[in-house]
């Protein structure tokens, strides 16, 4: 496997060939915020928070879906990128109905954390207050689309890890929403194995366990990465330590 060297914020970074710009930034110790990216799932570049500037590219690139190449010169901290990221997070809050104070995920929410990371003290955009209905038909879990940011991590977790493909994105633009099966109540979708991987992948409180309350909410967002690694190495945690 070849090694690629590139420059991130003026520092030289070496990554294996095929690595993404996100991996390069993180290996340089730069904490790029992400929401749609989850280790263990394929990247989609939906949330646009990991935007970086590549010298000569002319436009910002989503680092999670861009491959590193020899000699690239990247910047992650220009005033324009800082502004874009904060604006993006403000738009997430304005777009749905995100009320941290009454949310099951309050205190363990990636959207809430990202707001802190980008320094959002208020939203400059007026809130939309869209009308969205909760699906509480499943015996164990609920979907509250008011808190959904359309990162599609649930869609990918169900498709790529469980192979059930219960979730999909319906409609277009501001009408976009996550649907179960053929836009059915979740409980009626026979493909659902109730594995809970969509719940574990959700960055907000949009998918949650019914018996979780605010304080006992227990996200296991590392589950996708553990599964991916176990499958690649054919090594499971109950079969002893992974090979060196």
């Amino acid at each position: 496997m070849g090694v690629i060297t590139l420059s991130v914020n003026g520092a030289a970074v070496a990554v294996p060939s095929g690595a993404t710009l996100l991996a390069a930034c993180r290996s340089a110790g730069i904490a790029l915020p992400t929401l749609c990216y989850l280790e263990g799932l394929s990247p989609v570049g939906a949330c646009r928070l990991c935007l970086v500037e590549l010298e000569g590219a002319g436009r910002p690139l989503a680092a999670c879906v861009s491959e590193a190449a020899e000699g690239m010169v990247l910047r992650t901290d220009t005033p324009q990128l800082v502004n874009f990221r904060r604006m993006g997070v403000e738009l997430f809050f304005a777009e749905g109905n995100h009320v941290c104070a009454i949310c099951v995920a309050n205190g363990c929410c990636e959207l809430q954390d990202v707001a802190v990371a980008v320094g959002m003290d208020h939203s400059r955009f007026p809130y939309r207050y869209p009308q969205r209905s909760v699906d509480a038909s499943h015996p164990l879990f609920s979907l509250d689309p008011n808190r959904c940011i359309l990162c599609t991590r649930c869609v990918r977790a169900c498709d790529e890890l469980e192979g059930a493909h219960v979730w999909d994105v319906a409609e277009r633009g501001s009408h976009c929403r996550i649907v179960a099966g053929l836009d059915q109540p979740w409980a009626e979708v026979e493909a659902c194995t109730s594995c809970g991987q969509c719940v574990d992948a959700c960055p907000t409180g949009a998918l949650f366990r019914k018996d979780d309350t605010n304080v006992t909410s227990h996200p296991q967002r590392q589950r996708a990465a553990l599964l991916q690694e176990a499958r690649q190495r054919h090594s499971w945690r109950n079969q002893g330590p992974p090979p060196p």
């Binding site: 809050f93 109905n97 009320v99 941290c100 104070a101 009454i102 949310c103 309050n106 205190g107 809430q112 707001a115 802190v116 990371a117 320094g119 959002m120 003290d121 208020h122 939203s123 007026p126 809130y127 939309r128 207050y129 869209p130 009308q131 501001s174 009408h175």
Partner: protein
Amino acid sequence: MSHSPPLPQASWSPPPPGDGSPKLRLATVWLAGCSGCHMAFLDLDEELFELAKRVDIVYSPLASDVKVYPEAVDVALVEGAVANSDNLALARSLRRRTGLVVSFGDCAISANVPGLRNLLGAPGAGSGGSAAAVLERGYVELADSQPGYPRAPGILPELLERVLPLHAVIPVDLWLPGCPPPAPRILALLQALLRGERPVQLGAAELQFG
């Protein structure tokens, strides 16, 4: 709901510390909120004694019986969203009479829980709520007896069509998130103001909503 034009801001200079110097004139204001932010302010506990040496509370539901918002206020901590005509009038008058206005807590910043009534009313994205819909729900649909709208012009303030964050109706200088903002966060802000920091730079940890 049209936003009011930006109002001229009074110049704000912090009072120098020490005995005999003029104290900072502080107001705390309670708009459409649960008073939880004011309760968090009381959580300052013994720090309140230190604060009292440096600060005059000139208007507050907690510590003052003044009914009319006074002139020449240095700092106002404004809790709550703007939900009715009284909230709106008070917000506009406090802006004219205050140097530095702080959106104090999630309701002032985002309309938060009071803003959830914006979901009532005509369906459809972006239509917001309506005063009639929330009155219908509260006083007619859910009434056990004597359904009917409360009406007392000049006594009961009229609901606005939409619950708004404070910065949608007046210019705001600072935002202090939290539901409520924890007492140490309030203290950090007040200490920064008393040190004369302008603009006040709060750490990332002081910006968490919820």
